[in-house]
Symmetry: D2
Subunit: 303 residues, 4 copies
């Protein structure tokens, strides 16, 4: 359970309050505002604020005085056009703020996206909770043989149990030592030092704020099949928050980015030859074996 | 008058609508939301959206689950502390969006601030209005003799009249030629080419979105006495919008940044000697004449 | 001619000097270092410094202690892989600095790329030269009928002459007034004010520094057929400087970005159907007429 | 010892090679190029490339065609002026690249500086070495009583020994389990999962590239007495690399930033009253007790 009752009460209190505003407001995202969407075993992601809506994208693209919007169909067409042609600046006019609780090793991947604002819980200043990530047994997998940075087959039940036991014991022991070192009636070690004994599975949390263009970039990398499962687990509910917030932009993103493929110059040449009725094989394609496999997968050929 | 009646009607319509929201809401900024605050002869700045409030700064600094706020006095103290010690990330959690109409030469200074989002009205895509900046006679000044990038004395009335005549004639003539070249029944020149005949006094407009930390940085440079008058003219009403929006952060900014001075190591040494009762002269101060003047001005000494 | 003899002498002097360095050095870019490559009628772009080479990309991707490089063939393969899979950070490890002279309206498009460092010649501090852009007659074109932000047919010779006359006269008159207003024995107007009378065709100049990843992004937008001719005129010699500097990265960029196409989800579905032997028409394609035309153009079909 | 003999050989090989270049070259930084400067028990920082020198700052500030430089004294004065008045863009024209080996908890503080380029060694792709940070006994300190994010007194010898034993045992045990879980003849767990069992004391490494302006910002925060000792340990040799590289900029930074103090508006008012001969006490100063202590410390008064 990611929240204790005090935290849940604070959230409930905030959800109960409301005010009048002249700003662009989106009921579907208001509905889940502040709610913690659970991720992994102790994590969550929750939307704590947002600025703008689909119409704000249109408004900025047109630099208009009012809503800038005409019929929904026109807005959808314009937003799709902007996405397709990578006119990214109108999407930067929408902003969203999340509160995220996540294991430190996930936080280290996440923070590589630099065009965002972050306030992380400080373990120099405060004591971290006894919470660490323990994968579900079905997510414990062997090193992939074909992909140096991926997972292969699931571990056997025995191996999985063995690994979980090691991970749990190490996390527990390290946390117990952390607490012991901090104890002001004992050693009383400085927090900034004691924390170095914790494992990378320990949960941290942060406020993270980003504009919609950069969020789409983040999601296109982190909702991708090549991303590590544990960060994808965050990207997925975030995609759903975006769908609620800016449904037209979300549709354009799904169509033109998530579901799209890019063909390199030689891959395009292969497709053109195939469309012209040529039979093309990897050896005479100008593509490496790996590129050939990637292309065949993209166009749904067995290769 | 910066707005025509159609634009004013669009703004009025947007001001008339309101909705319920669970988000942090600030009545004092809602009050002026969408309103065009006039600047220079045809320009304006208007707030078109905002995210967060003073409590959001506190909330992010504490990475809290609820409002994060306690008593107003505590929040004020924390915000002042964050500003004084340059803990900038909590201020990045607030975001504001402006619609600005401004002369191109001002836009060129403004855009140098890179950590912001911009959508500018496109003169490749649309036709610019016949609007150009003409300084008020009292703002026409001679080149400063002492400061290579500043203004000195006001021009004489005759000189001012002469300059205004030149500026007005050139702007009018160039705009008339712009229109003539664009005329589809005449030359029909491409918009992206015709615009190159306009002067730098021509007004453009954009949507500009920025977080509070970077806005403070912008304002500390652009509300400064060394900034060109025409960009200061924008910074001043923007300061007022910030005061309405986040009064505690604004107070901390005024106290610790706008009204503060930085003493270099040798300037600090001079102040220490003076406080110890030494009489210090520029020659034995370790400061250059210019630094000496800057220090004397800062500490209110005649020098 | 973009350079006067004094400027050329300064450049020649700098080209004549050399030193020993342990840094990664690329003879093909050294060869043209500091040289002004002419662009448009008075502009230029010249490389004034660079950091890194193809091996530096490999070195960063591997976080190695030495050159990180193995055989050229391996490096080429790794760089192509990084580019294809949008692993952008190793490309950020190379940096280049240009000195560019360009018309103000081009500078205004250019500066929209924010992830770069810029120092522009200050017209508050110094006086601009009497240099303005006048298009070659063959580049004067009518507004495109089909593309709201593009050029269509070339103007007739008469119309072209007429337009050039207007542009030249306005630029000359405005510059003459600029000089007159500045004259310290006359009005002596502040430089920061006098400049507002100049047209957008006036040349400015700047130092511009950027990493290779962001340069590729700039070039993919600005060497594109949709970019305005006058900025493409800069992108082209810049592409050539990149080819000299990092030939493997340049090849990967050409193959996977410049010459690539992205197929949206429905466009990909159309291609799959076509490859399966279906005959597909726009009406049953799921694509809008515009998307259909774009796809047919991309895959070399008449549509 | 931070380097093994193979790594040292790679570095020596790179140091032995040299080439002719027309670029700005700085012998004092060339002298230490590629050398690992040891930090903490297993870390290092080494300069692997640089672009520009003091003259490049001057050159960019003047947007000049040649070196832009006059007499050393003039350059020093201009650079000091630029630093004093926070004209930051000319300093952005110099760039430096480091290779750093550092504990993960230090990396997590470091990465918060977003305006830099980073390539980190990937523990998804490769196996981390058995290297973890163990503080020297004299750096083990108790939590500060007065400063929530600082250290107070050193631990007693017994407590220090006890803490070191815990930290060593936990790091060793976690690393042993990491290796065991990775063993392809045993469990063969995916690298991206096995690493989560490591502690935050584990060393990682990265290539880190930054411009001089942002490096000064980083150093002003991380060489500060409020920074955690373990990141200051990196900032200090980095300051020395900057002193070798751009001595004039370094002097200006030391004088106007590192050794400077900023007085808030009320603190300035207090200093003015004191200079006028008033005796001021905290209670009538307009400053909080904490601000009063900070001011007295800054101006060298006992308070």
């Amino acid at each position: 359970m990611p929240l204790n009752s005090e935290q849940q009460a604070e959230i409930d209190e905030q959800r109960a309050a409301s005010a009048e505003t002249r700003r662009a407001t989106v009921p579907a995202i208001e509905e889940i505002l502040y709610q913690a969407l659970p991720v992994l075993d102790h994590g969550f992601v929750r939307v704590v604020d947002y600025m703008g809506d689909d119409a704000a994208i249109v408004q900025a693209a047109r630099v208009s005085y009012g809503r800038g919007t005409r019929r929904v169909q026109d807005d959808a067409g314009l937003i799709d056009y902007l996405m397709r042609h990578r006119h990214s600046t109108p999407f930067e006019m929408c902003e969203i703020k999340y509160h995220v609780k996540l294991p430190i090793f996930v936080a280290r991947q996440w923070i590589r996206h630099r065009t965002a604002n972050v306030n992380e819980y400080s373990a120099r200043y405060s004591v971290l909770d006894r919470e660490y990530y323990l994968p579900a047994p079905e997510h414990l997998a062997a090193q992939s043989a074909s992909n140096r940075q991926g997972r292969g087959e699931a571990l056997s039940a025995e191996h999985a149990q063995y690994v979980l036991q090691l991970l749990r014991d190490d996390a527990e022991r390290c946390y117990a030592h952390y607490e012991e070192m901090l104890d002001p009636d004992g050693v009383g070690l400085a927090r900034e030092l004691a924390r170095i004994d914790l494992t990378l599975a320990t949960y941290t949390q942060w406020y993270w704020k980003i504009d919609l263009h950069n969020l789409f970039h983040f999601l296109s990398l982190r909702a991708d099949a090549h991303a590590q499962f544990e960060i994808r687990a965050y990207a997925e509910p975030m995609l759903e928050t975006v769908r609620r917030w800016v449904p037209l932009a979300y549709a354009a993103f799904t169509k033109n980015r998530l579901g799209a493929v890019t063909l390199s110059a030689p891959a395009l040449a292969v497709v053109k030859r195939m469309l012209a009725g040529d039979s093309v094989a990897q050896l005479d394609s100008g593509l490496s074996p790996r590129e050939w496999r990637e292309l065949m997968a993209a166009i749904g050929r067995s290769g």
